[in-house]
């Protein structure tokens, strides 16, 4: 791996040949190719994605002082265009192009690489949409000549539903969900659930809270409204009084987060764990079953599929089903494709409400390397 790749004639021919195979496949399944510019206004990446993407985004200031980014991703600008042009949904869009990422602490990882991907926007039938994108990702890898691969899947919605089933205040449910994908942290949150926190000191009545704010003199509201501060203080005071999580349930969550293994087996373990904690998540488990059935129909044996309960992608916009395809190159296992559901992204970009969305991206240079390693 090198930070600044140079593509010689052979490399270009191989990449182009592979790209046309993959793009032909996308086109044959009804996906229309589009491409946002390489340089983008920095705002959409800085405001709409978390610090993790920002940290890895190359930004520059043009001579007029405007902040510009080299696209770290094509999904965000494509979705932004769909929202701004009020595109008729569902929409099937594909792309193939370079993305640019700063690789902090890893000076030998490439700062630019090709991604070929699809976005499937506005399909209400989730099962069908997930099957369509999974099938495309698998078909693209196979068409590119990689037959030997495995899948890693997870579902951020499963944990969300689990948390919603708990008798916890809203703030705490949000907090647990937000941090689901960070192993270790949720456990420490669960600890705090048992031990309370500083909110216990907060007054509960509106008069008391108003008085407390007034004693702060002319301290700035700093971007929040007085009402927001009062409302959250009331919520915190109320939840501090009621905050108590059954140890049995806390234990069940912690064990559920630990589950990782062949998918069918992992699902069975989740079911029995939920039974102990007396929680039903039939819809979410059924959705996972349907995905495994879909994979089976696509010729993927469930023994090739690994389910990891705390698997989330570090691109923070994913909201539900997530997956990765892994192959091997000369140096070992390598992720050749990844994708998932991001049902809130279009809304944060300005859509009127949530838009069901799922997509995937294929790391075409890694696919070539994996093919070459056979």
């Amino acid at each position: 791996m090198v930070a600044f790749p140079y593509y010689d004639a052979d490399a270009l021919n191989a990449l182009n040949a592979q790209a046309s195979v993959i793009l032909d496949l996308f086109a044959a399944r009804g996906y229309v190719r589009e491409e946002p510019s390489v340089l983008q206004p920095a705002d959409i990446f800085l405001d709409r994605s978390g610090e993790e993407i920002r940290r890895r985004t190359f930004t520059l200031t043009d001579l007029s002082g405007r902040d510009i980014a080299l696209r770290p991703d094509l999904t965000i600008p494509i979705c932004q265009r769909v929202v701004e042009s009020r595109r008729k949904l569902p929409a099937r869009i594909c792309y193939n192009g370079l993305v640019f990422r700063h690789q902090p602490g890893e000076p030998n990882r490439p700062t630019q690489f090709f991604q070929a991907g699809v976005e499937l926007l506005g399909v209400e039938d989730r099962t069908a949409a997930e099957k369509e994108v999974l099938s495309l990702a698998i078909a693209a890898i196979q068409a590119a000549g990689v037959e030997d691969f495995s899948l890693r899947i997870g579902d951020l919605a499963l944990f969300g539903a689990l948390v919603d089933a708990l008798a916890l205040p809203k703030q705490w449910r949000w907090r647990l969900k937000r941090h689901f994908w960070r192993p270790g942290y949720v456990e420490s949150l669960l600890y705090w659930l048992g031990h309370g926190d500083s909110s216990a000191k907060l007054p509960g009545t509106r008069t008391e809270i108003e008085a407390l704010i007034d004693t702060q003199g002319d301290a700035p509201l700093a971007g929040r409204t007085r009402e927001e501060i009062i409302a959250r203080t009331q919520e915190r005071a109320a939840e501090a009084a009621s905050l108590k999580l059954d140890v049995r349930v806390a234990d069940a969550i912690a064990r559920l987060l630990d589950i990782s293994g062949p998918a069918r087996d992992a699902l069975a373990r989740i079911r029995s764990l939920l039974k102990t904690a007396n929680i039903t998540l039939d819809d979410e488990l059924a959705a996972m079953e349907r995905r495994l059935d879909a994979l089976h129909e696509l010729g993927i044996d469930s023994s090739q599929v690994q389910f990891t309960a705390h698997f989330g992608r570090n691109m923070e916009y994913y909201t539900g089903f997530v997956f990765e395809l892994w192959a091997r190159d000369r140096e070992g296992p390598v992720q050749v494709a990844g994708g998932g559901r991001y049902d809130t992204l279009l809304e944060t970009l300005g859509a009127k409400g949530p838009v069901p969305a799922i997509g995937c991206a294929i790391r075409t240079e890694r696919v070539l390397a994996a093919k070459g390693a056979r």
Binding site: R54, R178, P220, I229
Partner: protein, 242 residues
């Protein structure tokens, strides 16, 4: 010759002078009070340069100087991963300051990083933009917020008077340096209970990327045994340089 950079002005400079004096090595500026070169009495192998505190941090990282005295906050901001790039020889017991996360006192419901995490998430939800953190410590802030599992925020670079940003409306939260907390309080701000990012003080630091020829090593040995005869400071540095 070993090049040693020390702060060219302010309290840090005065403290450095006092510290050298106490060690019996008087600092003599070569061309009057405004010169930017100096010598150390009793240690002729060392050439002293007077630079700004932040230049010292970046020069150490670039390997342009062998040693320097500057605030640990600046060193860690310049090089979040010190290993292999810089070696902290000795904390000097002056220049104490904390790098902290501070929010408005009017946020009576916010006292910890986990409260702040809630506010960040709520901000994205209701405002459709990220909460802004004004700071000149972008690297330290990123690392600390990542450890606190906060990702829904955006850093706004600030080069001065950071404490005024929340009142001016250019940021909601700040990360800044404070000694007594008085400036923060005057601006209606408070430090989060678990919001101390770094307890900083002046450090004598060595660059590991500088050209450590024999002369520089001889200078380092002479300087360190003069400044602190009781500690094996040079041995610690030499082990890093191999």
């Amino acid at each position: 010759m070993l090049t040693l950079a020390i702060p060219s002005k302010g309290r840090l400079k005065d403290n450095c002078n006092a510290w050298f004096n106490a060690a019996g090595a008087t600092l003599e500026q070569t061309s009057g009070g405004r010169g930017y070169r100096a010598t150390l009495g009793g240690v002729p192998e060392v050439e002293v340069m007077l630079l700004s505190a932040s230049e010292i941090a970046s020069s150490l990282l670039a390997g342009d100087i062998h040693m320097g005295i500057t605030g640990e906050d600046l060193l860690r901001e310049e090089a979040p991963e010190l290993a292999g790039r810089m070696h902290l020889l000795k904390p000097l017991g002056f220049g104490f300051a904390d790098v902290v996360v501070a929010v408005s006192q009017a946020w009576v419901d916010v006292s910890t990083m986990s409260d702040l995490d809630d506010i960040c998430a709520a901000f994205v939800h209701t405002r459709r933009r990220r909460l802004r953190v004004a700071t000149k410590y972008a690297q330290l802030t990123r690392r600390f917020f990542a450890e606190a599992r906060i990702s829904d925020y955006r850093i706004v670079p600030s080069s001065g008077a950071t404490e005024g940003a929340p009142a001016a409306g250019t940021a909601e939260v700040i990360v800044d340096i404070t000694t007594t907390g008085a400036t923060l309080r005057d601006n209606g701000l408070k430090i989060l209970e678990d919001g101390v990012i770094l307890k900083s003080q002046a450090q004598l630091a060595a660059s590991l990327t500088a050209d450590w020829d024999d002369d520089a090593r001889i200078g380092a040995r002479a300087l360190l045994s003069k400044l602190d005869p009781a500690s094996p400071l040079y041995a610690g540095l030499a082990a890093q340089l191999r």
